[in-house]
Amino acid sequence: MVNAAKVLQDLRASAERKPDVVVRLGKPLIISGAVKKLDADAWLVYEQVAIAALDVGDELLAHKCIEALEAKFPGSARVRRLQGMRLEAHGKLEEASGVYKAILEEDETNVLASKRQVMVLHAMGQTTEAIAALVKYLDINYTDFEAWLQLGDMYLSEHMYPQAAFCLEECLMLQPQNHIFHLKYAEILYTQENYSLALKEFCRVVELCKDHVRGLYGIKLCTSHLRQNPRLAKDTKATNQEDLEAIDLLATERLLAVYSSDKAAPSSKDSSKRWLESL
């Protein structure tokens, strides 16, 4: 029991979303009532398990948690947000939106509610409104990189690539070491046909994460474009011809090396080889 509480606490601290683990560990705690022994932490566990239960669709457990929290903190904005999430889980998006709106009317700085509000709009298919709300949120909470990432995704779904690239640039500044952001940025640049810049970002991905296959494929794609179309590479900042060849060679070599390991499936080995030959 002590161990379960410790693991749950670690998960809360790292803000990881592992609903299956949380429900598996938290359910016995709550059903047996052992959670009460955690004193003040108990309510945090209730909240954590409630969200996880909604994630995995365990309605009874979520209900139990939210009821307990409601009894302890009547009228709290945090609990009402959980109730809003339960409504969302039941598909009652309009009602959930109303709950969030009420919270925001009382306290317009409520971060949790404004984020949920955006996602409800998104789920209702009103992407334009969701983007507007998220832009408004980011104007105030600039440092929330997850929100920037979400905004980037929404712009991508609307095929607004320059705007999406802008969002990813903000992510790059807020989390420069995360190679996933570099990868995503590179892919947006590639879609915008900005191959020389995309190549550099793909190189950065592989630099940050050794033998990153998606990054290596990206390099291959960019170099093949740049070699077929030398006028694309005329920009002074772009990679010179000699480096281009060397990088291309390196990417091919690494891809072959990755697929020649024992772990790779033979089918993917063949298809990658064929693809590399076709370039």
């Binding site: 003040a40 104007d139 500044m173 190189c203 630099e207 480096d243 990088i247 060679l249």
Partner: protein, 330 residues
């Protein structure tokens, strides 16, 4: 060895058990009780936390944004960096992120008439009082009734340096250091009861003695540095802060971190010798020095004003610098 035993024997002092029952334990008991009472009173006094203001949050986040751009802008391609720089500079100059854009040219009234400021100040005072008053009272009580009492003997020998710590209020030069005086027992309790409070009240309690020390030191600092830097949050002129941040941003130079990423990658996989990177760095340095020699004056202003960051007290200097730069441009 002989001298040590002699000293031990000579100091075979006996303490009256009544001291233990009526001084040692009561002091500890009173301190624990006062800590618990203080925790509850603080909880009562603090009441509901003040609601944050959306616009002031936006103000500080905008400043943070400029800071992040200056610090991590090297991860962006130069065009993206320049766009942001130009945008933020313009926004800061026009006061677009200010809480109250119209008020930026108005002269400021007396801060004491600003109810929000007075409220925060009173809050801080209340908290400080809650921390300091009980400790002063207990210390006075101990000083009045038990000054000069020797309460316990530590079971281990200590060096003479500990004398001032363990025998405060007992001015004897010969007594063995392991005897602890009443006032020192108070201080030991003050710092040592922390974990006892955690046991009784749970973590995050308000009975912490270390907080007293912090409160006292900040109070001292506040008095020394004048009202401008009072810890309770003197309202700053945000417009000035924004303008100085704009200065910093304007002179921030951009150097893209991915300029030679291909070479770095090739070096990483051993396709090129490491020396290539060094050669590139040398070449870059040479290029920089050749260009900067012509604009030496501007680089010196860069260093001096970036060191002042967003400190409002340096404002006049950076404003005059801005004027100098503008006239140079004209």
């Amino acid at each position: 060895m002989g001298a040590w035993t002699v000293l031990q024997e000579r100091q075979a002092m006996l303490l009256d058990p009544a001291i233990r029952d009526w001084v040692l334990i009561p002091i500890m008991f009173v301190m624990v009780l006062v800590g618990i009472v203080r925790h509850h009173v603080t909880v009562l006094l603090s009441g509901t936390p003040k609601k944050a203001d959306l616009k002031s949050a936006r103000e500080t986040k905008a400043l943070q944004r400029a800071g992040i751009l200056r610090a991590f802008g090297s991860h962006l391609p130069s065009q993206a960096f320049e766009t942001r720089k130009v945008y933020l500079c313009e926004a800061f100059e026009k006061g677009r992120y200010l809480k109250d854009p119209d008020a930026k040219n108005k002269p400021k009234g007396n801060v004491m008439q600003d109810p929000a400021y007075v409220e925060t100040m009173m809050d801080g005072m209340k908290k400080n009082m809650m921390n300091i008053v009980p400790q002063t009272v207990i210390m006075g009580w101990i000083n009045f009734f038990f000054s000069g009492f020797v309460l316990i003997k530590l079971p281990f020998p200590l060096t003479i340096r500990f004398k001032s710590m363990l025998q405060r209020g007992v001015e004897t030069s010969d007594m063995d250091v392991s005897w602890v005086s009443s006032l020192s027992w108070y201080f030991l309790n003050l710092f040592g009861l922390q974990s006892v409070f955690t046991l009784i009240l749970g973590s995050g309690h308000a009975a912490d003695a270390m907080r007293d020390m912090q409160a006292m030191s900040t109070m001292g600092m506040g008095a020394a540095a004048g009202p401008q830097y009072s810890p309770t949050g003197q309202p700053q002129d945000m417009n000035k802060v924004f303008l100085s941040e704009r200065e910093n941003l304007e002179i921030a130079e951009h150097e893209w971190g991915l300029d030679n990423v291909e070479t770095r990658l090739l070096v990483k996989y051993g396709k090129k010798p490491r020396e290539v990177l060094l050669q590139q760095q040398e070449a870059k340095k040479k290029r920089l020095t050749s260009t900067s020699s012509t604009t030496k004056t501007t680089t010196t202003t860069t260093t001096s004003s970036s060191s002042s960051t967003s400190n409002a007290s340096f404002q006049p200097a950076s404003v005059s610098m801005a004027r100098a730069k503008k006239s140079k441009r004209a």
